[in-house]
Structures are given as structure tokens and as C-alpha cells.
Amino acid sequence: MNNTLSESSATATKAIPLSIDDLTVAYHRKPVIWDVSLDLPAGSLVGVVGPNGAGKSTLLKAVMDLIPRASGRIKVFGESYADNRGRVGYVPQRESVDWDFPVDALDVVTMGLYREIGWCFPVRKKHRQAAMEALRRVGMADLANRQISQLSGGQQQRTFLARALVQDADLYLMDEPFAAVDASTERAIVDVLRDMRARGKTAVVIHHDLQTVAEYFDYVVLLNMRVVAHGSVKDVFTPENLQKTYGGRLTLLDEVTEAMRHQRRKL
């Protein structure tokens, strides 16, 4: 009895952090992502790369059941997301909230613990200490009591990162944490990511800067409505694959525009 219990928990921790099978998501019947199938390795930093409108944010949101999916199965550590919510940390896009809200940085970070604290219970001292610790990890301990609109863009992004860190999750989903941040914030985020990897955690990061993909990530997913390629950076992050991810769409658009122009000329 005891044996099977420990065995099953061992397999649960070893299980693939994120496994997506045949996922299709549609907005207003127009598909945004098609037939995405992925198995992400544990303990790695995964970069998700693709042009605007490729469905990168949609993919993350679909994983967390924030938007309905047309078809497909998603497993987080071998179970459904709802069962393993506690092991997933989410860093949304910075623009997704109103930063003029009457809270300070520490308040925002404590929000990462609300689920643990439970319905109707107040935030207690130990939660505030944990939040403080998370702020320290992103180099923001001095700014804990500053109102969030008084923070710079990079500091706001770090606050969001700290809110995910405070959960001590095993899988992190980050929506463009590097977008429009200063150099020191970028360094701080990279340090945090490497520290996560050293502790066997997995991070899935939507990324825009192709120059730094090879430096920051071990594993890369090239996405343009469907998965163009995925695998270790060494194998997959090639000019041909990038051309397929970014180029194909553009050439098609060019062709359509050209066709329309042609038609107009005929009329």
C-alpha cells in the first residue's frame, strides 16, 4: 500500500510537465491554433517563438482553461490542469492589467498566494514574508511598498514574475516577460529562469527577440498557428525553420495582395 503510494507520487513528479495532444482553438469559429501536439521535457527552459497573431498567448491560455478549446487534450504533470493548478505559475502580459490600481508591489505578489490562503481567510504575516522573499529574488525588496503605478515597466514585470515565484510552482507559463524591459530587468529575469532550471523546474516563455533565443533557452517551439518545429535549440532553431515560421505567412499575404491588385486592374 505504502509502496504503491510512493511509487505513484514518484511517477507524478517525473511525468512530463506539459503534454498537449491535437489542440485546436477557435475564436468565433475562426481557428487560431491548429492541431498542436507537444511534449515538453522536464527541467528545461522552453522558448515559444512565432510572428504576431501566431497564437502564442492563445496556446498558454488554452493550457490554463482560460479559453475554451475546440478539440484536444492537455495534461499537466500527467493530469488535467484543474487538478494540478497548484503546480503551475502564470505570468500574464504586463499590459493585461490597469497599473493605476490602489495596491503596492507586495500586495500584488501576495495575490499569488490567495489560493493557498483560501476563500475568506485574510492574508497573514507568513504570507507577507513569503511575498517579500519572492520580491528579493527579483531584486525588488526596496520597492515592496511602492504603489504599482510608481514602478517602471521593468519593475512592474518583475513584480508579476515575483507573484508567480511565490507560488513555488513546478511549471511556469510566461507571456512575453521580456517585452519592453530595461537591461537590468532582463538580466534579473534570466537569472531567475536559470535558477529555476537548476532546481528542476520548467518554464515555457513566449519570446520575441530571436537574437537571444539560443542564449536563454534549451528547447524551442516554433509556432505559427500550427507547430512548425519543436525540439532542442541546437536541432530546431535553424534558418529554414525560421523561414517557414515567419516567411510562409508573409509570402502568402504577398501573393493574396498581388492577386487582388491584379483583379482590380482587370476590372
Partner: protein, 521 residues
């Protein structure tokens, strides 16, 4: 950004004041009608459970806006009259609940949902009255009327949601359309009822609010509902705060955002419905918005904002209900809203966090410190050639420890920048008061402290200039103006970085990279 929100706030206020005035005017108009048909008035007076202190003075010799006697004031303040006591307490609780719930809806940016809802209640009140009359029930029973109000109110909200989801119309359009159509329908229905049935006059109190028409049972209902709202707001404070700040994150953490939104909407519905009688359906939205908006000026903490908002709402309810107890003929809704508005105006001006006064003070202080920095640097640079000729480039502190020997003339200072002589003189007076410089005949001399401060500022300015020239490829003739804007925000750590970048540790004040105007002597 700020000026726009102030403009919107003023617009809303003006609108609310207009409605409140309209309330007074209509009420007075109704009284005149009442005077013309005294008999009917007397009947409705008997029927309405009038809790006012003036109720003994009947309507026949009525001079409505009579100033209450001292005795009446006194008994109001001591809450001697049982009915008054109950009504004031009930409306106070209602105000507190509205303030608390309002702080959530304001931050969730759903403030106007309540407006559509409350306007949509009017037809429901009419229908409930008609139905009760048909069936021979008590047509003025409050629970029945409120039930009808809730029904059409929710239908109105539902229509808003349907329009928003199934068409391309935006939410504000949907709100406006529903609000006016339902309210218009309600007004039409009410006038039909009035023609059919003479003693339906009490229904108007739902439009502008009239605590005087409230019975003890009604107050109990209001107080109980308000208490429930307050309790739920406290219990779910953390969850609702998360929902208002970041709904998507809340659902990713397993908090059901949709159900939380429904709870919040439920609180708004409850406050609006039970507030109908005391505040009236046009003005109940003000009780949801004004206290929260006022509280925002005082704090950057949501918890504090929540409590302040509750207190302002409670104070508005208390004073408003008290006033309408002594002035029986004033519509209580208008009183309550006007009291809240006074709080709002005070907060907007004096609020310690975002009030106009605080911001103005901060701006003035910033301008003054910038002026002072300009003044000190100007004085330093004008006196610089003489100082250099004395060979004290590295020893900028005057020898005698008190004052610098060089006097800088006003003429030279005025020529240095485009500042008026009035502004320059004020700036000099303030700097002299802080003993950074003193007046010397027609000019000024820096004191020891002044020279040190001026040297620091000049150093910052020039370090930045040199940085721009060597690292950012600026022409020396352009850097002065660029550095002028930057020097005020250079923090010590940036200066340290600049120093190490420019390798200038040894020189206290580097020479200017471009020609500096000199004082003609």
C-alpha cells in the same frame, strides 16, 4: 490624464447636481398641486406612514420649507424620536454598504452597470403595483414593489449583456439604450397608473427617494440587506480585489471569475433595490460611485479606500436621512447625494494622495527646486572665471568659510536664462532664507554651503554634457539644453556610473565643454 479625469468627474457631478435640483423642483411642484387639492393631499398623508417630526403639522396651513425650531433640531441630534432613529440607522447602513460595494465596481470599471439596473426597475414597480391592485393585495407593500423592481432590473441587465455579446455595439451604447428605454417605459406606466388611480402618488418616492414614506418594517428590510452586503464585502474582500485587479490571473488560480462577477453584480443589485425608497432610482447610482471616487483621492491602498468609501457613504446616508426628517418635504435622495458630493469635492481638493492641492504643492515644490538649481548653477558659472583666476579650481569653498568674495550682478543673472526678474527675485529670496546665498548690493554672493551645492549641480550638468559629447555624438553647441532637462533627475548612482564612465574622479568640477557666458565686470 489627470485633467481628463477631473473633467469627467466634474461632468458627472454637474449632472448629479442637476438631477438633485430637478428632484427638489419636482417635489415643490407636487406640493403646489397638493395645495390645490388639499383633500386628496390629506388622504395621501394619512396613508403614507410618515415618520417625520413635522407630521403633526398637517397640510392645510402648510408652509412647506419652514425652518425647524431648536427643539426639533435638538431632538433630531439626540435621535429622540424612535422612528427617526430607526430610519437614520437604516439609511446609514445602506450608505456604508453602497460605499463598500461601490469601491469594487469602480475598480472593476463597471460603475455604470448599476445605473442601467436602477433605471430599469421603474417599470417593475409599476407592474407590481398594478398586479397587486388587480388581485386586491396591499398595493404599497414594499417587498412586493421591490420584487417587481428586481425583476425588470435584472431583465434590463440581461438585455445589456445580450446586446454586448451578440452585436458589435459597445457596452456604453447598450447601457444607454437600456437605461432610457426602460426608464421611459416606467414613466409612461406610472402616469397611466396615476390617471387610473388617484392614490398611487406614493410611487414617485421611488424616483427621487423619500425616507419620510418609509415604515419601520421597510427600514428593517433595508438594514438587513445592507448588513448582508457589508458582511459579504468583508468576507470576499481578498477575492473581489483579485478579480478587480486581474480577472484572468484569478481564473488561472482557480477562482471562478464569472461567479465572482455574479456575486459582485448581486451586491450591486441588492444595494440598488433596497436603496430605491431612500435614495430613489435616479440617484442611487451616485451612492455607488461618489463615495468610492472620493475615497480614491485619499489613499493608494485598496483596503483603506474600501473603508473610507464606506464611511463617506454612511455619513451621506446619516446626514441625508436626518435632514429629511426635519425638512419633511425635501427629497431625501437629493439630500444624501448632496452630502456625499460635499465629501467628494473636499476629497478632490484636499485628498492626501491624489487631491488637487497635494498635486499642486508637489508641482510647485518641483518647480521651485528646479529654479533654485538653475539659479545656483548660473551664479556658479558666472563667478567661475574669477574663481579660476585665483587658482582655486579644486578649492571651491571660499577661504573665509562664510562667503564667496565674488558678487554676481542681477543683470548678469537675468541674461543667463529666460526668467522674469520677479521669478528670479523670489527664487533668490528663498535661497537666501536657506542661507545658500545673500544679497550684496545690486547682486548676490554664494555662501559656503551655496558654493558646495552649486558646484555639485554644475558638476552633474557638465558630466552629462561630456557624456553626451563623447558617447552619444552630440555637438558641443547642443548639449547645454539637453543637460538642462536631465540634470534635475540625475540620482547619485547614475552620477557614480557617469564618473566611472568618464574617468573624471579627480576633478571636482570639470571645465565646461562649451563656452560659458561670462559676467562683464
Amino acid at each position: 490624464m489627470m485633467s481628463r479625469s477631473v473633467l469627467i468627474a466634474c461632468g458627472v457631478l454637474a449632472w448629479i447636481c442637476f438631477l438633485a435640483m430637478l428632484g427638489f423642483a419636482t417635489e415643490l411642484g407636487l406640493q403646489q398641486e397638493g395645495l390645490q387639492s388639499e383633500g386628496q393631499e390629506a388622504i395621501s398623508n394619512i396613508e403614507a406612514p410618515n415618520v417625520s417630526l413635522l407630521k403633526s403639522r398637517s397640510s392645510i396651513t402648510d408652509r412647506r420649507l419652514e425652518w425647524p425650531t431648536w427643539e426639533q433640531w435638538w431632538s433630531l441630534i439626540l435621535l429622540r424620536d424612535y422612528n427617526t432613529r430607526v430610519v437614520v440607522l437604516g439609511v446609514t447602513l445602506l450608505g456604508a454598504a453602497a460605499g463598500m460595494v461601490g469601491s469594487f465596481t469602480l475598480l472593476r470599471k463597471r460603475a455604470l452597470m448599476g445605473d442601467a439596473l436602477s433605471h430599469a426597475t421603474l417599470p417593475g414597480i409599476g407592474f407590481a403595483f398594478l398586479l397587486a391592485n388587480q388581485l386586491g393585495w396591499d398595493a404599497k407593500s414594499l417587498p412586493l414593489l421591490l420584487f417587481g423592481a428586481t425583476a425588470t432590473g435584472l431583465i434590463g441587465l440581461g438585455v445589456v449583456l445580450v446586446i454586448r455579446h451578440s452585436t458589435r455595439l459597445k457596452e456604453d451604447t447598450a447601457l444607454g439604450a437600456v437605461l432610457s428605454v426602460f426608464f421611459g417605459g416606467g414613466v409612461a406606466l406610472l402616469s397611466v397608473i396615476q390617471q387610473m388611480d388617484g392614490h398611487a402618488a406614493g410611487l414617485e418616492s421611488f424616483i427621487y427617494g423619500k425616507t419620510a414614506s418609509m415604515g419601520i418594517r421597510d427600514v428593517q428590510l433595508i438594514a438587513a440587506a445592507a448588513l448582508v452586503c457589508i458582511l459579504v464585502s468583508f468576507l470576499l474582500f481578498k477575492e473581489l480585489k483579485l478579480l478587480c485587479f486581474d480577472g484572468q490571473f484569478a481564473s488561472s488560480r482557480g477562482f471562478p471569475a464569472i461567479r465572482l462577477d455574479i456575486v459582485l453584480m448581486g451586491l450591486v443589485v441588492t444595494v440598488c433595490i433596497v436603496g430605491l425608497q431612500a435614495v430613489g432610482l435616479i440617484l442611487v447610482i451616485a451612492l455607488l460611485i461618489i463615495p468610492a471616487a472620493a475615497a480614491r483621492f485619499w489613499t493608494e491602498k485598496m483596503w483603506v479606500m474600501f473603508l473610507i468609501s464606506g464611511c463617506i457613504g454612511a455619513a451621506g446616508g446619516m446626514v441625508g436621512a436626518g435632514m429629511s426628517a426635519v425638512f419633511a418635504r425635501l427629497p431625501s435622495g437629493a439630500m444624501i447625494v448632496l452630502v456625499c458630493t460635499v465629501f467628494f469635492l473636499l476629497s478632490m481638493v484636499f485628498g492626501t494622495s491624489r487631491g488637487i492641492l497635494v498635486r499642486w504643492l508637489q508641482r510647485t515644490q518641483l518647480n521651485r527646486s528646479i529654479d533654485r538649481q538653475h539659479l545656483l548653477r548660473a551664479a556658479f558659472e558666472l563667478a567661475e572665471p574669477k574663481r579660476v583666476s585665483r587658482g582655486t579650481d579644486n578649492e571651491i569653498v571660499p577661504q573665509d568659510g562664510h562667503r564667496e568674495q565674488v558678487t554676481v550682478s542681477m543683470q548678469a543673472l537675468l541674461g543667463k536664462r529666460s526668467w522674469s526678474s520677479w521669478r528670479l527675485n523670489r527664487s533668490i529670496d528663498r535661497a537666501a532664507r536657506d542661507s545658500l546665498l545673500y544679497r550684496d548690493g545690486d547682486g548676490i554672493s554664494l555662501t559656503a554651503r551655496g558654493v558646495i551645492e552649486a558646484a555639485r549641480l554644475t558638476r552633474q550638468h557638465r558630466l552629462w554634457e561630456i557624456f553626451l559629447i563623447t558617447h552619444a555624438d552630440f555637438a558641443p553647441s547642443q548639449v547645454d539644453r539637453q543637460a538642462d532637462a536631465i540634470e534635475h533627475v540625475l540620482e547619485p548612482e547614475l552620477i557614480r556610473e557617469l564618473v566611472s564612465l568618464l574617468d573624471h574622479q579627480d576633478i571636482v568640477v570639470p571645465a565646461s565643454p562649451h563656452p560659458v557666458e561670462e559676467m562683464k565686470s
